[in-house]
């Protein structure tokens, strides 16, 4: 079950993930390549300032990756006004946990790209002994940034996004005035016959007790009073 969810997440996000992984991989190398001739890298302080620039850049990239995955993930779930997973025999909590878990796993890819890029970049300069975990810390920072951004967007999208779509489609945009009965219209040419067309009543006009009398003989109480 989780494997299939992970596969769906991967297949849906793989293009963006490939892009962010490539950017995450290139960022440390590019920044180092730009900084190298200007800074000279003569002291640990200069290395740290370059490292900060790389760290900030990769964290931003990872955050955008996290936001994208959450945004896209909800978009595909909610295309038709309800979430596919909610029609499956699992609890909401479990469905959300699987979706979030799958996203968290695929977001490790951009962080992995950062780690490989930073490792290669670190190999280009002589790092002081205290900075040997440079690549790992950059990747961790990117991963945490991606997870945090994803968690925020995931929470926003999955908690608030469905409110507007719960009613019948276009309920709030329904035009006023007469219209044909949908059931009759759907049956084809007889829609045009005047006697088969019902005037559309605004919802507020249908008040009163209109409910079944019993299961076998059931029309409206009001209609019985004729």
């Amino acid at each position: 079950m989780f494997g299939q969810t992970l596969y769906v997440q991967w297949k849906w996000n793989r293009d963006f993930l490939a892009f962010y992984t490539a950017v995450g991989f290139a960022a440390p190398l590019v920044i180092l390549w730009i900084a190298l001739p200007h800074l000279g890298l003569t002291s640990a302080l200069e290395l740290v300032s370059v490292g900060n620039a790389v760290g900030m850049t990769t964290a931003v990239i990872a955050s955008v990756a996290g936001l994208t995955v959450a945004w896209q993930g909800y978009g595909i779930d909610d295309r038709v006004g309800h979430i596919y997973a909610l029609s499956l025999p699992i609890t909401r909590r479990r469905a959300l946990a699987m979706r979030a878990g799958a996203a968290a796993l695929v977001l490790a890819l951009p962080a992995l790209g950062v780690w490989v890029g930073a490792t290669l970049a670190a190999g280009q300069v002589a790092l002081p002994a205290t900075l040997h975990s440079y690549a790992g810390s950059l990747a961790s920072r990117a991963l945490l940034a991606a997870w945090l951004a994803h968690a925020c967007m995931f929470a926003l999208r999955y908690s608030a996004g469905r409110q507007a779509k719960n009613g019948p489609r276009n309920a709030s945009r329904r035009p006023r005035g007469p219209r044909h009965c949908g059931g009759v219209a759907a049956t084809g040419s007889r829609c045009a016959v005047q006697r088969l067309c019902l005037p559309h009543l605004e919802p507020g006009t249908l008040r009163g007790t209109v409910r079944p009398v019993d299961a076998d003989r059931c029309l409206t109480r009001a209609s019985l009073s004729h």
Partner: protein, 301 residues
């Protein structure tokens, strides 16, 4: 009679313009229940409520003995659901979609799914996003049937399909129902299609169930009567009057329900001439029922 679905006093509000109020509905076990209603009447919302996708504001819902929405996941394991619009992931292929769907259902019948895929002429490697409307409808029906459900909930399963595909989809459905004795709740605009396959009917309008009865009662009990010299205020009738309209001259046209042939004697007692009894088809019965409900609602308001 036991019921696959029981809804009592259901209330739900979506925005300012639409609400389901005081909804009662019972779908008998083993029945094919047609769920009729015009656009925006609340059929899809009711279906989503009974599947636990939306939380009700009030009332109780029981599906296959499970309380919904709290036990919805237990009920859903025994339900095949075809939504109004394709909700599957478009980037997956047909085969991947079947695999994904199967992973959630312990009752998934892989051989039946494969048989249906071939019968429906669906290519395993075809992407869901590129399926035609007919192919998508077949795939949805395949997924619903392959879980070997006790209850099928179909939200306009044949809407927009061409006659050939519609026939294939309905044939697969009826074959399954006749073999397994499953209960079906089918919402549709296609009145004549419901007439063919359903044995119970529920009519919904503006968030209310305005009629619920066996199909034969709905089909045979509603008549249009042409009457001469009708009294201004009719005494209590043995039938229900849905509508009274002025006809030519002194004639009136009554639309009645629960009609039986032996009721003609009532007119003789009232010194009224019954000129003609006209049979209505399901579509006309549906329209008259809606009209009566709206008239009654308007008067009550």
């Amino acid at each position: 009679m036991t019921h696959a679905i029981t809804i009592e006093n259901l209330a739900y509000r979506a925005g300012r313009h639409f609400a389901i109020r005081d909804l009662h509905m019972r779908v008998p076990n083993g029945s094919v229940y047609g769920f009729l209603g015009p656009n925006g009447s609340g059929k899809t919302t009711t279906i989503r409520l009974l599947l636990g996708m939306l939380p009700p504001a009030d009332g109780t819902i029981s599906v296959l003995g499970h309380d919904v929405p709290h036990g919805a996941h237990h009920a859903l394991a025994r339900i095949g659901y075809v939504p109004e619009r394709l909700h599957l992931y478009p980037m997956l292929t047909v085969e991947e979609t079947m695999r994904y769907h199967a992973s959630f259902y312990g009752r998934w019948d892989a051989s039946e799914a494969e048989r249906l895929r071939r019968a429906f002429d669906l290519r395993a490697e075809q992407r869901v996003g590129r399926l035609s409307k007919g192919e998508a409808g077949k795939l949805m029906m395949l997924l619903a049937l392959a879980v070997r459900p006790e209850l099928l909930v179909l939200d306009e399963p044949t809407d927009g399909l061409d006659p050939v595909v519609r026939r294939d989809v309905l044939a697969a459905l009826l074959e399954y129902v006749s073999t397994h004795g499953a209960t079906v709740l089918m919402s549709s605009h296609l009145v004549h299609e419901q007439e063919r396959v359903c044995d119970w009917i529920g009519v919904m309008d503006a968030g209310r169930l305005v009629a619920e009865m066996p199909m034969h009662a709905f089909r045979s009990g509603i008549k249009r009567l042409r009457i001469a010299g009708a009294p201004a205020h009719a005494s209590p009738t043995p039938f229900g009057i849905l509508a009274r309209r002025a006809g030519a001259g002194r004639e009136e046209e009554w639309v009645v329900r629960d009609w039986r042939d032996d009721m003609t004697s009532w007119f003789a007692n009232e010194n009224t001439a019954l000129r003609e009894v006209v049979d209505l088809d399901l579509e006309e019965s549906f329209v008259e029922t809606l009209r009566a409900a709206r008239d009654a609602g308007g008067r009550a308001a």
